[in-house]
């Protein structure tokens, strides 16, 4: 029976030869990732009430990223509880203040094709960029996974999203996703899976592919998959993880697999995209928003502050200055990102332009950390969500764009097409 990549992974994880769409499968979890917000502070009392420990500490990855660094008694207590729980439960893969969970996993080579993984965060589909079936769950369900090592899944359909051609200068994976949020809407996929394919996707480096899988969450997908290829293999080889030819051959949709729907787009035609408040679905070409004044430009989060994102910003900011009356805040997605950006000169370019460097972590993206907005303020952000009040005051306005677009707006003091700065 021809099968999609999604169903192949779920069949493997549930120990059956094949699955049909709609079947309920109980899958064994290969990796469970938690962070400080939805992690120990929530699951500890539940496990205690059940009277059980964690099923397998070696399959758990724990990250502090939401409340770092502590700024008050509440956040300090959450971090303290997280550290003590990690020690008490023998969690070896505990990454304390080292970066955002969705970036920590790839950086450390924890994900590989065919894995079945859950994360206590809605952007957990990021792991799908490796051809791993990874999705987000709530804390109660995480407690269930920690207790049993298992979770139920309804075998999903797959939307195949093909991008032909190649992205132009100043256009990135983020623009692909903002375009898709509008073209596909946020409610069409209905918790099925999105699989990205086509020449434009094959050309993207791993770090950009992460953005596609990451924002599959916005499309309402359970996960967003990219079949592994030579790019995946080379990236993982750099992390000490070797993939065999058989892995690449096995973890892909069969040529005659049945898809719920096939969507096709031409990357060459894609202009930089901006999503207006208060939904990623409100996207349009950046030029259509030209003249929108901003007070804050924000480069941060799992979606938009990895090394390649800082490189995009630096390409725009080199030799330029942030406009008066506008602030550019940058919260790198991991400590490694900051270190590498310092080593290759990127950080000097950003700071030279007047950017303000914030601690690594989830930061202002979800209104938890430094950089939240006041009433009536407008921000252009490289993050994934611009829901009402998400980054601060309920009457603040968040636009979404690529790091190119955010940097360009910081220089102009208003939204512009970033290609104007990339001649």
């Amino acid at each position: 029976m021809a099968s999609t990549l999604a169903l192949k992974i779920l069949a493997r994880a549930s120990g059956v030869p094949a699955l049909r769409q709609g079947e309920i499968a109980t899958c064994k979890v290969d990796l469970a990732m938690m962070h400080d917000s939805g992690g120990p502070r929530r699951v500890k009392p539940m496990l205690e009430k059940l009277g059980v420990g964690v099923w397998d500490p070696s399959k758990i990855v724990l990250v502090t990223d939401h409340y770092v660094p502590a700024v008050d008694a509440e956040s300090a207590a959450i971090l303290d509880l997280t550290r003590k729980w990690a020690a008490a439960n023998g969690i070896a893969r505990f990454h304390d203040m080292q970066g955002i969970c969705h970036v920590i996993l790839p950086e450390n080579g924890y994900l590989k094709p065919g894995m079945f993984a859950v994360g206590g965060d809605s952007h957990s589909p990021t792991g799908g960029a490796f051809g791993a079936y990874m999705f987000g769950i709530g804390a109660t369900e995480m407690a269930g996974v920690l207790a049993t090592g298992e979770i139920w899944v309804r075998a999903p359909g797959t939307h195949l999203v093909r991008w032909t051609g190649a992205l132009g200068k100043g256009v990135s994976a983020k623009d692909i996703m903002l375009k898709l949020c509008r073209a596909m809407t946020l409610s069409a996929v209905k918790y099925d899976v999105v699989e990205f394919a086509g020449p434009a996707i094959e050309k993207l480096p791993m770090i950009e592919r992460l953005v596609l899988a990451n924002m599959s969450a916005e499309l309402g997908a359970q996960t967003g998959l990219i079949a592994p290829d030579a790019v995946t293999r080379d990236f993982l080889a750099g992390k000490g993880v070797e993939l065999a030819d058989a892995d690449l051959a096995r973890w892909r949709s069969d040529p005659d697999a049945e898809f719920t729907r096939t969507w096709t787009f031409d990357a060459a035609e894609l202009a930089p995209q901006i999503a207006a408040p208060h939904s990623p679905e409100n996207s349009d070409a950046a030029a259509a928003h030209k003249g929108t004044r901003i007070q804050q430009a924000y480069i941060g989060a799992c979606t938009g502050a990895k090394l390649v994102d800082l490189h995009m910003a630096a390409a725009v900011l080199k030799g330029r200055k942030v406009a008066a009356g506008t602030r550019l805040l940058i919260a790198p997605a991991s400590q490694r990102t900051t270190t590498e950006a310092a080593a290759d000169g990127t950080l000097a370019t950003l700071l030279g332009a007047g950017a303000i460097l914030l601690p690594t972590g989830c930061g202002a993206c979800a209104g938890y950390g430094a950089g939240v907005l006041a009433e009536d303020e407008t921000c252009l952000s490289s993050t994934a969500r611009n829901f009402k009040g998400r980054m601060g005051h309920p009457k603040s306005r968040v636009y979404l764009g690529s790091p190119y677009s955010v940097a360009a707006a910081a220089v102009a003091g208003e939204i512009v097409d970033p290609r104007e700065f990339l001649a």
């Binding site: 009277g51 509440e74 965060d121 769950i137 269930g144 049993t148 209905k190 918790y191 829901f387």
Partner: protein, 168 residues
């Protein structure tokens, strides 16, 4: 969960009600009592003050989109809401509802419900009766394993029961 026959008033919102509206990030470091005070304040500042136990929240498409934070469900439960009705739910929010013993009812007729309507929701039967109009709306049937979880009051009591049975 909602005891059959429990009547509640409808609080009606549109498409894409998100988790940040239900549990705003600014208050996430606090306990659920504090978060619940701010539930839906971005779109309805009076909601948390006026909602009463047994009331029902009604949405359009993609209810609960966004974060995995189950405080989005817990805030509603804290305020006494045991049933959420929508044309469709975000998958993660839907799972969180069942896990926490709040019934997510997918109902094609959600758009026919007006604010303040008195509703009798029966998650086990999969029906909603609108006392104002007399209409009975069918809902999508929940799979058996989720009905069992709802009947037990959510995933934790469900697991407790299972573990006890396993140990016995």
């Amino acid at each position: 969960m909602t005891a059959p026959g429990t009547r509640g008033r409808a609080f009606v919102y549109g498409d894409n009600v998100d988790t940040d509206m239900l549990a705003p990030g600014l208050y996430m470091k606090f306990g659920i009592a504090e978060i619940a005070k701010h539930c839906l304040e971005a779109i309805d500042p009076d909601f948390a003050k006026t909602v009463r136990p047994g009331d029902v929240v009604v949405g359009g498409e993609n209810f609960g989109m966004g974060s995995s934070r189950e405080q989005a469900v817990m805030a509603l439960r804290e305020l006494g809401v045991r049933t959420v009705i929508a044309k469709s739910f975000a998958g993660l929010f839907f799972r969180n509802c069942v896990n926490l013993g709040v019934a997510p009812l997918v109902c094609a007729h959600a758009g026919e419900i007006a604010a303040g309507d008195a509703l009798d929701a029966d998650p086990l039967a999969g029906t909603i009766r609108n006392a104002r109009t007399g209409a009975v709306y069918p809902c999508e049937a929940l799979p058996a394993h989720l009905l069992a979880m709802l009947e037990d009051g959510g995933l934790m009591p469900h697991l407790e029961k299972k573990l006890k049975r396993g140990a016995a």
